[in-house]
Amino acid sequence: MTGKTLQEQETGRTAPREGRREMTRDVLLTIEGLSKSYPGVKANDDVSFQIGEGEVHALLGENGAGKSTLVKMIYGLVKPDEGRMTFRREEYTPSEPREARGLGVAMVFQHFSLFDALNVAENVALGMDNPPPMGELAGRIREVSEGYGLPLDPERLVGDLSAGERQRVEIIRCLLQDPKLLIMDEPTSVLTPQEVNILFGTLRQLAAEGTSILYISHKLEEIKALCDEATILRRGKVVGTCTPRDSTAREMAEMMVGAELNAPQRAPINPGPVALQVRNLSVPAPSAFGTSLREIGFEVRQGEVLGIGGVAGNGQDELLLALSGEVKTPRDCVQINGLDVGDLGPNERRKAGLCTAPEERLGHAAVPDLSLMENALLSGAVRKQLTKNGFIDWAGTRRFAEEVVKTFDVRTPGIGTAARALSGGNLQKFVLGREIMQEPEVIIVNQPTWGVDAAAAAFIRQALLNRAAKGAAVVVISQDIDEIMEIADRFAALNEGRLSAPVPTQGLTIDEIGLMLGGAHGMHEAEVHHVQA
């Protein structure tokens, strides 16, 4: 395929999109009445739509709307309970991904499809059904990756790549199989704005060559920029279709969420004295494929919200661990209200007024199999004085847990419920509530609204702002730039373990943010412009 594609790509790049849109497309994939139930949830309910050849089709919906289940059915990972699909006018019932790939359906996953300890070529080979010998494959990876403006070295270990480069591996893996339909699940969540532009260039080029793309996202601006048609899912059902170019983001948002959303309200701030001071913080990478922190320094004042942005895997986890005390540092690296706490553990830092909420809810911020009451004890024991001489005050713990559930509107049958039984949004409200209700003077959260539905996300952001209004210093580490722009007073970017100097969020443009985040990883500026052109 390579030789031909490289030529086509030249024409593809220059082909005017307008002309293509007017053509009547042949239908590639139709979906009729697809339903799939899991215990207690109807993940998909009578979903129907179709995708034309060379069309970029958006599947739009909130977390939990059923997008993932739907694409898993198309890719043969899940069997539908009801409904039928046709692919190029033939009955299409893939029983496993191999069969789907054989027919020309390829998928780029959001998570979980790469192997850190294997190299790029091996990873690509694993995604192909009849890969050529390794030597030949490596050559083709070079050729195709460069042809699409996504250069990759086949010999490198995947674990050493940046998030954007990892995604390239997945895309190249798909492209080598000459797909008719390419499914992309939330592809931009791991990219800088510049990298997003490169990706969109590649996708447009593919569409121009006749490849259809099913593009899953909840980011409306992207869909407006890229997609020809959109199908909107809510609670497993199709609630609408539209042509993104002709619709406003607000219309699409309201279809997606099904209600009007309130943007967080915040009072103008009057920052007090410095509450959290970090100086010259360097931490070696904790694991083989982790990130080292290098000379990080910043300060946050009382009542102020600092947003720390960055693409996944640039040291967010490591930074939170070093600030929470789970990883110890030299004594004077971290100061809370003037007190050196760098060499203290999490509980001593809590005593000093610092609470944290890590990104991973199940397994880090909460123990999956323990009840909410026990999870309340997990980090609340010190500040809420839930132990006496080491003995647990269960009655007090129960009161604290109930208070959190009530105040933060956690939907649960009771505080005896195991943490893993809660939905992502509810559990996150519980975790955040548990920390905020300890009335910390400094609160640091990582990805506070990741995978959380819009209503819960708004609630959580408001709660953080309220805490800041009460005089706490708030640090929000997030990969969601919109979130940071919405609630932070100042912005700093984390890039390969280094933190940029914080700047006020007001008046910051998306391009400036993108450059702070590290621009396009592993690409020369020239190439970026080349592809964008």
Binding site: T69, V78, L118, L126
Partner: protein, 310 residues
Amino acid sequence: MVIGGIDIVLLIASMMVAATPILLAATGEMVAEKSGVLNLGVEGMMIIGAISGFAAAVATESPFVGFMAAAVGGAVMALLFALLTQYLLSNQVATGLALTLFGLGLSALMGQGYQGIKPPPTAKIDMGPLSDIPGLGPILFNHDWVVYLSLLLVGGTWAFLKYTRAGLILRAVGESHDAAHALGYRVIRVRIAALMFGGALAGLGGAYLSLVRVPQWTEGMTAGAGWIALAIVVFASWKAERVLLGAYLFGGVTVLQLRLQAAGIAIPVQVLSMAPYLITIIVLVIMSAPRGRATLAAPAALGRVFHASH
């Protein structure tokens, strides 16, 4: 060549024999661990192999049949482990321990009436004049076929993991079962196959103890060999060529201490016989010392429970 009353050529030759059971078991366990499953039941599979091989060899007068029965016996034990851990999602550490405890009990039961019997001898392969080469002959060309089979299996395993697609898939499953599942690989099937291969090799290793090395049946005769095989996998950082090195080093220590006992060196017998275990501990410490080095080489999904949510 004789040093301190010990013939070096004979020492090396007998080192290879002493190392063979552990080499077989460790190679099998390495493959199982490469697929992401920690089977602590090696000792149990070995001893079941030892008795089933012994019983079959005695019954048929054929050591070959004995070894085949041992491989089957070990593989059946591994299958039991696989069913529990892969389908019933039991804890791998606990299930491995159970496999060992059960294997020790069951083998003692099966071995009633086999104590004190001599098994049919396992023939050495006649390599003609090759075995008469001074030095090299006794070391390389004067062994029974199982020694050569074990070397072939190590070499084959090395090539399988490095060069074949099936080997790549096996490594991928051991790195991330979620990713492998998402790409449509049958994680559980791959793991069951790897476990059964490991069981078969552990069974062979056990039978080599009861049919060649000792050769007779006594209860609990593996005496920790299965655990040492597990330690050698760690020592080898999950690499076949280093499993060979580790097993032969260990075989050397074992043989050396036996020779020293026989040579009447003035060290208490017990001190010598605890030496292999102490050396295993020391080797483990050395391997783990630069923090994370051993863990870096370990398959990332080792010991994790896989349950495809859909």
